[in-house]
Amino acid sequence: MSNAFDFPGGIYPPERKQRSNQSALIEAPLPRRVTLPLQQHSGQPAKPCVAQGNAVKVGSVIAKREGMVSSALHASISGTVSEVSTTQISIEGDGQDEWLRLPPLVWQNVEPHALLERLNESGIVGLGGAGFPTHIKARVVEQHTIHTLVINAAECEPYITADDLTLRHYANEVLEGAQIIAKLCGAQHIVIGIEDNKPEAIDALKQALTNSQPVPVELAVIATRYPSGGERQLIKKLLDLNVPSGGLPADVGVLCHNPGTLLAILHAVRDGQPLVSRVVTLTGEAITQPGNRWVRLGTSVRELLEQAGLNTPELHQVIQGGPMMGTPLLTLDTPVTKLTNCLIAATLEELPPPPAESPCIRCGECESVCPVALLPQQLHWYARAQDDAKLERYHLFDCIECGACSYVCPSHIPLVVDYREAKSRLRLQRIETAKAEHAKHRFEFRQARLAREEAEKQARKQARQAQQRRPSNTAATNSEKVDLRGLRIAHAAAKASVKKAEKTLARVAQEDPKQSLDDLEMQLATAQENLKAAELQLAQAREQQSNEESP
């Protein structure tokens, strides 16, 4: 059934996966020093909670979640914190590799909120590339009914074999991780989407599927075609559902997870092991020992490639991610993060720079390969002309930046670069136009904070009075009749507005991971302050009432 539906377009670039999928998945040597950026996920950067000189173990929390869409960060080696800056934390290793694990949980027996909290404190984010905090994604059930969990093992980009090797080695664990998420989101059905160029991983999955699964799992092997691993493309192909423009898979009752993330989820729940390492594909013609490694987060890319036999004179560029959607690294002295799924050390011959750009001849080849059925050449036209109204009308923001259009363009136009520039310009514009709104939200936040502080002051005062055990009749005469009902309504309203702010934030963050979230985080903080104030007032009023009733 898996090939019954299809998405438009697509290309068949050379796969070049053999280079890295021939050897087994092994541990990379323990790094002596790690550098952990505070922003390894979409949303707000984490906030450091250690100081220079602190001793840490593997798994110690070194930075906490800041705001709602954010993720905690853990030490990936044991040793001493050597530097805490505004953007990163460095740890000098002691070579002991001492661990600090959370207590193991038996996921079948614990409550969903405990599982969510575990995902939150383990710093799990989507390891497929977007880095969206998993605990927020798992809370989607609060607004949507999920019927199907899709395991996105398509891994359609050339070179990358991290999911392939993960599945070969950990098929059972990945499936168990999927069961955890299925439990959390209430999915009744799990579908694994995998391209037919990974026979070993498919075999491993078939083997693992002979074990009984609480939620039924279907293995859907699909034809290899780029970009079948795009979330929307895969959902279309497997389930024939169209995720609406600007919407989320959850809008059609689907949740999508990458095998690496599911494995990390299992490790966090079953073993209490936070996210401190990940599988990275090391490949390209400029290294002699390609393959997949378990790499501690924060390991230097240079160190990692040199251990894999980097041939520096031959090296032309290192690409983080795949050759279609990845980014060339400007320096090798950069750490592996939660988002690093692949490092390609490419020679000049292997990935030559495109020839000089020539004018668009409107051949329409880009349109025939676009998996979203956009008109890339029209978008190119409008992007170059900075015709923003037209860009929006031609659905620029539906572009998934897969690069199929650039790949086939006979005029070698870097189309996706143009689209990305246009998108960030439009995002900036949206922030500019919302500036007045933003100022208003800042003001509201300040008001809410002051109100909450006032409420706290009142509460403290009342507590003092209660301690002094004043005669109750004075209290009763001083205060008017307490409007308990009104306060309860206000409290409920405050609670609802927190929920609403959380919902909006989670949604916007997932819809467009690159959109700035400051304003929405501020609105959420305001709602939270209001809720605190309302809670305090309500508690105060209740106490007062009980005092009145029992003098």
């Binding site: 438009p8 290309i11 068949y12 670039p13 050379p14 050339p158 929307r232 493309q233 169209n242 995720v243 609406p244 423009s245 600007g246 919407g247 560029q317 050759p323 279609m324 959607m325 990845g326 980014t327 060339p328 490419a346 990935l351 030559p352 720079p353 495109p354 020839p355 020539s358 004018p359 001849i361 409107r362 051949c363 329409g364 349109e367 025939s368 998996p371 979203v372 059925a373 956009l374 008109l375 050449q377 029209q378 037209k390 929006e392 009308r393 031609y394 659905h395 620029l396 923001f397 539906d398 690069g403 650039s406 790949y407 086939v408 006979p410 005029s411 070698h412 870097p414 670069v417 990305r420």
Partner: protein, 349 residues
């Protein structure tokens, strides 16, 4: 950011890789060779002199304008698009056209229709057809001088090309093309009577058929190499055949058969080499189908009811006019969008 590019990877599946723009142009030029060879065989070396002259004018004019526009000359000439325009206009002209006729046509094509609009990729009209149409309306005497099939090296070839042939002798060169003859048969003459009278010089109809088939060969090569997509030629030929079948069935005694329209004039040449010019055609697949169908229908309408025997140039130019409109109304429905047409202004995407 895509670091991989179809033309940069040698292990790509070649069936899906489109060649770069410059080699795309060269492939089209190469695909005209069967047609040009066949035409020369039947109509003499005047065909080749046309092509060479037009190509030379094309390159020289493009270089001159690029120099005036202070644009890189060599890189741009290297895309071979001016050369292609020359080849296409050259093959469209009556064999052994005088040099100045070719020159005027190429000025209209390269300078006016292409470079004044901004060069490759920016011209709204098919340059070769602009040149052709201009010549057709300005110099009808020369443009209808289509000699009947003759030996490879006609006697007056040099005099014709240099334009030194006395005007009195021009008429002797003229021979009606099949389309021309059929058009001017007169209402009183039934089609069957017209054919029975053997109205054309010997071998004319056969020559045109062979030439048409040679263009078809070139077109199939282009389709097979994925230089052009099937949408425009199939839509154009389809609508042409369909419309003419309706006419023909309604009154076979006055209308020509679909096969006649397919295999004479510039039908197949136009379908594969002219209408498929991507720059001036519609871009979306649906748009291409409408565009092609429009050309096919216009060809039949102009040939049947208009003042000119053939109509590919006018049909293409008229449909070029419609392209901006087609581009707006043939937008495909992006995945996840409710509607196909672009959103309204100000509407959130």
């Amino acid at each position: 950011m895509s670091m991989m590019h179809a033309s940069g990877v040698k292990d790509a599946m070649t069936a899906t890789a489109v060649p770069p723009t410059a080699s795309l142009m060269r492939w089209v030029i190469a695909a005209t060779l069967p047609g040009i060879a066949t035409m020369s065989y039947f109509f003499g070396l005047g065909v080749i002199s046309n092509v060479l002259l037009a190509a030379a004018f094309g390159i020289a004019l493009e270089a001159a304008v690029l120099r005036l526009r202070k644009r890189p000359i060599r890189v741009t000439l290297n895309d071979s698009s001016a050369l292609l325009t020359g080849v296409l206009l050259g093959t469209s002209l009556p064999p052994a056209s005088p040099w100045w006729l070719v020159g005027v046509g190429m000025i209209a094509a390269i300078v006016v229709a292409k470079q004044l609009y901004g060069g490759l990729g920016h011209n709204p009209f098919n340059p070769a057809m602009v040149g052709y149409a201009l010549l057709l309306v300005s110099f009808p005497t020369y443009m209808t001088l289509w000699a009947p099939p003759q030996e490879m090296l006609p006697n007056d070839l040099w005099a014709q090309i240099t334009g030194t042939l006395p005007t009195a002798q021009l008429d002797s060169l003229s021979g009606a093309t099949p389309l021309d003859a059929f058009k001017h048969k007169g209402d009183a003459v039934l089609a069957s009577e017209f054919w029975a009278a053997n109205p054309l010089p010997n071998g004319t109809l056969t020559a045109w058929r062979w030439v048409a088939l040679a263009w078809l060969v070139g077109g199939v090569v282009l389709l097979a190499k994925r230089i052009i997509s099937w949408h425009i030629p199939i839509a154009m030929l389809g609508s042409l055949v369909l419309l003419d079948t309706l006419f023909y069935l309604s009154d076979p005694s006055h209308f020509a058969s679909p096969l006649f329209h397919l295999l004479t004039g510039a039908t197949l040449f136009g379908a594969f080499f002219i209408a498929t010019d991507p720059v001036s055609a519609a871009t979306s697949q649906r748009g291409k189908l409408i565009y092609g169908a429009g050309i096919g229908a216009l060809v039949i309408i102009i040939r049947t009811f208009g003042g000119y025997p053939d109509a590919v140039a006018f049909a293409v130019l008229l449909m070029n006019l419609c392209v901006p409109l087609l581009d707006i109304y043939s937008v495909p429905r992006p995945t996840g969008q409710q509607k196909a047409s672009p959103g309204k202004p100000g509407e959130q995407p």
